[in-house]
C-alpha cells in the first residue's frame, strides 16, 4: 500500500479544492463586474479596491441571515439537498491534470489528484448524480412551484447530459482512451493541415463536437440562456424558492463551481489544457479556462432566455442528431484514413 503516494494525492486534492473554492468566490465578482461593464454600468466597486472584497461581504451577509425552513418542508431532505449539489460540484476537478509530472525527492509527483482510465466518464457520472441536488431540493421545499421548477430543471439537465456525453465520443474515437492524461498526450502531437503545422488540439479536428459540448455545458450548468428553471420571472425562482441564507448560497456557489470545472474540462479536452507555445504549464490551463468563463458571462449578458419547449426541442431534435452525425463522421474518417486523422 503506497501510503506516501496516497498522502501526496490527498495534499494535492486539498490544495485543488481550496483553490477551486477561492476561484468560485471570485467568479461571482468576475461575473458581476463583467456583466455590469457589458451592460454599461459599473458593478461592485465600493467594497475594497475594485470591489474585490465583495464576495467576502456577500458571504458574511448570507451567513448572518435567519435560517428559514418552511413548515411544509421535508426537513431532512431540505437540509441535505443543497449539500448534495455543493459536494458533488468540485469532484470533477480531481481528474484534471494541472501540469506535467515533477520529480521531488526521488518520487514522481503527478499534478493531478488521480488518473483513472475512465476520467471523462467519471465527470459525466458526476453530472448525472448532481441532478439529485435539484430534484430533491425542489421536492423538499413542499411548494408546488418548486416541484415544477425542479422537474423542468431535471428534464433539461438529463437531456443535455446526453448531448454532452455523445459529443465527446468523437474524442474517444480519436484517442482510443477515456483518460485525460492520454487525451492530453494525444493533443501534443502535430496536426498537419496542408502547409500549417498545428498542435493536434481537438477543437481543430472536432469543431462540431466542440460547439455541441459548449452548448450542452451551458445547459447542464443551468446558465443563461438556458436558465429558465431558476430565472426570477419564472416560477418565482424554481427549486431555489424556499431556500434563503447560506443554503441558497450552496446552490448558487455549486453552479459557479460547476461552471469552473466544466471550463477546465473543456480546456483540457478541446484546447490542449496545459499545452502552450513557449512553456507548458498550469498558466495556459488557467488562461483557457478564463476564456471559457468569460464566454459564459458574455452569453448571459447577450442572449435572451430560451422558452422551455424550445430548450427541450433544441436538445432532442437538433443537438442529439448532430452529435450522432459527428460520431458517424469521425468513425468513418478514422476507418478510411483519408490521411487526415
Amino acid at each position: 500500500m503506497d501510503w506516501i503516494g496516497l498522502l501526496i494525492s490527498y495534499i494535492f486534492g486539498f490544495i485543488v479544492l481550496n483553490v477551486l473554492l477561492l476561484c468560485m468566490a471570485y467568479m461571482t465578482w468576475f461575473e458581476r463586474r463583467v456583466l455590469a461593464l457589458m451592460q454599461h454600468r459599473v458593478g461592485p466597486n465600493r467594497t475594497g479596491p475594485f470591489g474585490l472584497l465583495q464576495p467576502i461581504a456577500d458571504a458574511v451577509k448570507l451567513l448572518a441571515k435567519e435560517d428559514i425552513v418552511p413548515a411544509n418542508a421535508d426537513r431532512l431532505v431540505f437540509l441535505v439537498a443543497p449539500l448534495l449539489s455543493f459536494m458533488l460540484a468540485p469532484l470533477g476537478a480531481l481528474v484534471i491534470p494541472f501540469g506535467d509530472s515533477l520529480t521531488l525527492f526521488g518520487r514522481t509527483v503527478h499534478l493531478y489528484v488521480t488518473d483513472i482510465n475512465i476520467a471523462v466518464l467519471y465527470f459525466l457520472a458526476l453530472g448525472s448524480v448532481g441532478v439529485y441536488g435539484i430534484i430533491l431540493g425542489g421536492y423538499a421545499s413542499g411548494n408546488r412551484y418548486s416541484i415544477l421548477g425542479a422537474l423542468r430543471s431535471t428534464a433539461q439537465v438529463i437531456s443535455y447530459e446526453l448531448v454532452l456525453g455523445l459529443s465527446l465520443v468523437g474524442i474517444f474515437i480519436l484517442t482510443g482512451s477515456l483518460s485525460l492524461v492520454d487525451i492530453l498526450r494525444e493533443q501534443e502531437q502535430t496536426l498537419t493541415l496542408g502547409p500549417l503545422q498545428l498542435p493536434n488540439w481537438f477543437i481543430l479536428s472536432q469543431p462540431l463536437a466542440f460547439v455541441l459540448f459548449l452548448i450542452a455545458a451551458v445547459a447542464e450548468t443551468n446558465r443563461a440562456p438556458f436558465d429558465l428553471p431558476e430565472a426570477e420571472t419564472e416560477l418565482i425562482a424554481g427549486y431555489i424558492t424556499e431556500y434563503s441564507g447560506f443554503r441558497f448560497s450552496f446552490y448558487f456557489l455549486a453552479e459557479y463551481i460547476n461552471m469552473i470545472v466544466v471550463s477546465l474540462m473543456a480546456s483540457t479536452l478541446f484546447l490542449g489544457g496545459i499545452d502552450g507555445p513557449f512553456a507548458r504549464g498550469v498558466w495556459w490551463l488557467i488562461l483557457k479556462a478564463l476564456i471559457f468563463l468569460f464566454f459564459y458571462v458574455w452569453l448571459r449578458a447577450t442572449l435572451p432566455r430560451f422558452r422551455y419547449d424550445q430548450l427541450m426541442g433544441l436538445a432532442w431534435k437538433v443537438l442529439l442528431p448532430l452529435a450522432l452525425l459527428n460520431i458517424a463522421l469521425t468513425g468513418l474518417v478514422r476507418l478510411w484514413g483519408l490521411g487526415l486523422l
Binding site: L76, S128, I135, Y139, I158
Partner: protein
C-alpha cells in the same frame, strides 16, 4: 485486517443499511434516496473489484437515469393517493415474512456453500491489461461476440420509446368528443331548488335557465349531491 477489507466492510454495511432503509422508510421519496445511496455504494464495490467501467455505468444509468425517473413519478404522486403501506391483513403479513425468510435462506446457502461459483473465463487481469484496460476489453467482447444481443436490446429500447410516445400522444378532436359523450353532467337544478337547509332556499331555476350541455352531453337532474358524490359540497351540512 488490510485496508481493502475494512473499506469493503464499510461499503457493504452502508449498502445493506440503505437497502433496509428503502423498505422501511415511510415516505417513498426517502426510499428512493436510500436506494440511491445503495447504488452508489455498490458502484464503489465494483471499483474495488477493478470493474471501473461497470461502476461508472451503474452510476450513470441506474442512479442518474432510472432512479431519476422513479423520483419524478414519486414526486408527482400525492401521499394520500398511494395505497396503504401499513396494515394489510395479518395472514398476508405472515406469508410475506415467511417467504422473505425462505428467500434469505436460499441466498445464504448459495453464498456460504459457494455452489454457484462458475468457471473463470478468458478475461484474466493479465488479459485485460494486455488489451489496454477494462473498457477496451468490454468493447472487444461486446462488439464481436455479443453483437446480436446488442442489436436486439436496441430494438427493445426502440419499442419502449415508441410505446411511450404513443401513450403520451395528444388527443384528436374525435377522441375528445367520444370521451365527452361518455360522461354526463349532474345538475342540482331541481325544479324545487336545492335542499341546503340552513343556508337558505335558493330560488328555483326557470326552464329557460336550464340550458342543454354542449357536445350532446346527457343531462341528469339530481335532487341532492349525495346521490353522486362522497365529499360534501361547500357549505353543505352533513347530517348523519
Amino acid at each position: 485486517m488490510s485496508i481493502q477489507v475494512l473499506v469493503f466492510y464499510l461499503l457493504a454495511i452502508v449498502s445493506i443499511g440503505a437497502a433496509a432503509g428503502v423498505v422501511l422508510a415511510r415516505n417513498p421519496v426517502h426510499s428512493a434516496i436510500a436506494l440511491m445511496v445503495t447504488f452508489i455504494n455498490v458502484a464503489a464495490i465494483y471499483v474495488m473489484l477493478r470493474a471501473e467501467f461497470l461502476a461508472v455505468a451503474q452510476v450513470i444509468v441506474y442512479t442518474g437515469a432510472i432512479l431519476v425517473l422513479v423520483v419524478f413519478v414519486l414526486m408527482l404522486v400525492q401521499q394520500q393517493d398511494l395505497p396503504e403501506f401499513h396494515g394489510g391483513r395479518p395472514l398476508r403479513i405472515a406469508t410475506g415474512f415467511v417467504l422473505g425468510i425462505l428467500l434469505l435462506a436460499e441466498v445464504l446457502a448459495a453464498i456460504l456453500t459457494r455452489s454457484l461459483r462458475g468457471q473463470p473465463g478468458p478475461w484474466t487481469p493479465d488479459a485485460v491489461a494486455a488489451v489496454g484496460g477494462n473498457i477496451q476489453a468490454i468493447g472487444r467482447e461486446l462488439y464481436s461476440a455479443y453483437t446480436l444481443p446488442i442489436q436486439v436490446t436496441a430494438i427493445v429500447l426502440l419499442m419502449a420509446t415508441i410505446g411511450a410516445i404513443f401513450l403520451a400522444r395528444p388527443e384528436t378532436l374525435a377522441e375528445r368528443i367520444a370521451a365527452a359523450r361518455r360522461i354526463f353532467t349532474i345538475s342540482l337544478g331541481h325544479p324545487k331548488g336545492t335542499d341546503l337547509g340552513p343556508i337558505g332556499e335558493l330560488p328555483a331555476p326557470s326552464q329557460a335557465e336550464l340550458k342543454p350541455a354542449s357536445f350532446t352531453r346527457p343531462l341528469i337532474l339530481a335532487k341532492s349531491a349525495d346521490e353522486f358524490t362522497e365529499q360534501p359540497a361547500w357549505g353543505e351540512v352533513v347530517r348523519r
